[in-house]
């Protein structure tokens, strides 16, 4: 219990420090909303050439975009600290973190919440309402939305933790693996049926990000049975979360400081 209290206190404190950078917050919020607008603009470019993608109508694809933004927003708000792992390696800051009387992975994850994530969360929610109405999504889908967003975020964060574990193990600043994870997330917002079978397998099994956006919206639009959308995302989140935690602990075996 005391560890949970510590984490809650950490989250509140770090959020307060973020609020100190108000100009950056305003620019970040505008930037995250702008990013969504830009992504929708690029989707518009594709749909300008062809009216639909894989039999998915524009409003249905808009729902995929919306839920993906919310997943990203949730990760950025609660688990963003993992992006600092390579910097911590380079500066030897893990020396300090490892002796804190808390489990280091949750502490690391909550170390650096980004408040501009609210732009992704709120923007995504507004888009889901707008596109969901157009795509005639059933109302119960909104009740299951928190489950999908949280599971999607856990899957996304688990992949980032795996990337962070590689950075710790190799003592390098491999941010590129993080960007690769985000690239996978960003591209899972297209209907994955337009991709070759191998990529579909990647996004459904190995890096199962599509389980939190493509599968739920497929279920809500009658393309898949509902139970799959309710069972598969939590199961994948549990498996990926366990794997990430194991890899993180393994990465610190034989840890040597690199900073000065």
């Amino acid at each position: 219990m005391s560890e949970l209290r510590t984490l809650r206190h950490l989250l509140r404190t770090t959020m307060q420090t973020r609020l100190e950078y108000r100009a950056d917050l305003a620019l970040g919020l505008a930037g995250s909303l702008g990013m969504q607008a830009a992504s929708l603009g690029l989707l518009w470019v594709v749909l300008h050439t062809r009216g639909d993608l894989g039999g998915w109508k524009p409003a249905e694809i808009g729902c995929l975009y919306a839920i993906t933004s919310m997943v990203l927003g949730f990760s950025e708000l609660f688990f963003n600290g993992i992006w600092w792992a390579p910097t911590y390696v380079q500066r030897g800051q893990f020396d300090r973190l490892l002796v804190y009387p808390v489990r280091n992975l949750p502490f690391m994850l909550m170390l650096s919440p980004e408040l501009h994530a609210l732009g992704n969360l709120c923007g995504g929610f507004i888009l889901l309402i707008l596109f969901g109405r157009e795509a005639a999504l059933p109302l119960w889908g909104f009740a299951a939305l928190p489950l999908w967003v949280v599971c999607g975020s856990l899957i996304h964060t688990s992949l980032l933790v795996l990337a962070g574990s590689v950075a710790i193990r190799s003592r390098g600043g491999q941010y590129q693996l993080y960007w690769l994870t985000n690239t996978l997330l960003q591209n899972s917002r297209f209907p994955i049926t337009i991709y070759p079978f191998v990529i579909q397998g990647l996004l459904l099994v190995l890096a199962p990000l599509a389980l939190a956006n493509f599968v739920p919206i497929s279920a809500l639009t009658g393309r898949l049975p509902i139970w799959i959308a309710l069972v598969a995302p939590p199961f994948a989140a549990l498996v990926m979360g366990s794997l990430a935690w194991w890899a993180w602990d393994k990465a610190f075996e034989g840890y040597e400081s690199t900073g000065s």
Partner: protein, 267 residues
């Protein structure tokens, strides 16, 4: 007052360029991973367009554009927001500004070394794309080759000055995320990295034409492939030159203004 115009500064820039270039060699594996990560993103773009673009002769020209745009984007990538953001937060920017060299030129040479190093990888991607796409990727004519090479040089200058302008925003925001995201979103949407701007819907194209971002990727690539030719190519080059001059003046004046109001943090 530090004399930043003294002749002795130029050997310093040359030395800085050399050292930046050698530091890239020390992290060559990171560039490979970076190339792989960017190529993965590009592969998704190709997969989306493979589905959306109707097959035919126009299709190979379209994919030639995408391949050239990817190479150009990789080569011209400059991202100094993170570096500057950290220096500002930690107060180290004070020592940077005290150095007897011009801060803009320091970044310019760093960006030059980035581009020189990345060009080798960009060319490698071009060769692979050439093997896959054949003559569709070759310059439309000798004139197109000459004009597009000039346009690539101007593209670098536009990219650099835009980047430097956005970096200056960090002096006001004290954090790099906002400026970086803003630049990236404008770059992604309006540079022509995702698709040639001439296939954009009219309203989106109109916005792109008012902004300088199209001159980083679209203009040189479109001239190379003959999507822009004749008087339109000269007009595009002229527009690039104007943007370079405007961005140079704006970024220099705003930086001079910023320096006077700079508050140093950290210590």
């Amino acid at each position: 007052m530090i004399d930043r115009s003294r002749a002795g500064a130029w050997p310093a820039y040359a030395s800085f360029f050399q050292r930046s270039l050698s530091s890239h060699l020390a992290y060559a594996s990171a560039v490979w991973i970076n190339l792989f990560a960017m190529a993965a993103g590009f592969a998704f773009t190709l997969l989306v367009w493979r589905y959306a673009q109707p097959a035919g002769p126009e299709s190979s020209r379209f994919f030639a554009y995408l391949a050239l745009a990817f190479s150009a984007n990789f080569t011209l990538s400059v991202a100094f927001e993170r570096y500057v953001g950290e220096r500002i937060r930690e107060g180290l920017i004070a020592t940077d500004l005290l150095k007897p060299v011009d801060y803009t030129w320091l970044f310019f040479w760093q960006a030059m070394s980035d581009v020189a190093f990345q060009a080798a990888f960009g060319l490698l991607v071009m060769l692979i794309a050439l093997a896959a796409l054949g003559s569709a990727l070759l310059p439309a004519s000798a004139a197109a080759l000459g004009l597009s090479l000039a346009s690539f040089v101007l593209a670098f200058l536009v990219q650099f000055h835009l980047g430097f302008l956005f970096v200056q925003m960090i002096f006001a925001t004290h954090s790099n995320y906002g400026p970086f995201t803003t630049r990236m979103l404008l770059h992604t949407a309006f540079s022509g990295i995702f698709a040639p701007i001439d296939v954009y819907p009219p309203a989106f194209r109109a916005v792109a034409e008012w902004l300088p971002f199209r001159h980083i990727i679209y203009t040189p690539c479109a001239i190379w492939l003959g999507r822009i030719d004749g008087p339109a190519a000269w007009q595009a080059l002229g527009s690039q030159v104007i943007w370079v001059v405007v961005l140079f003046i704006v970024s220099r004046s705003s930086f001079n203004l910023l320096r006077r109001h700079l508050t140093i943090q950290g210590g």
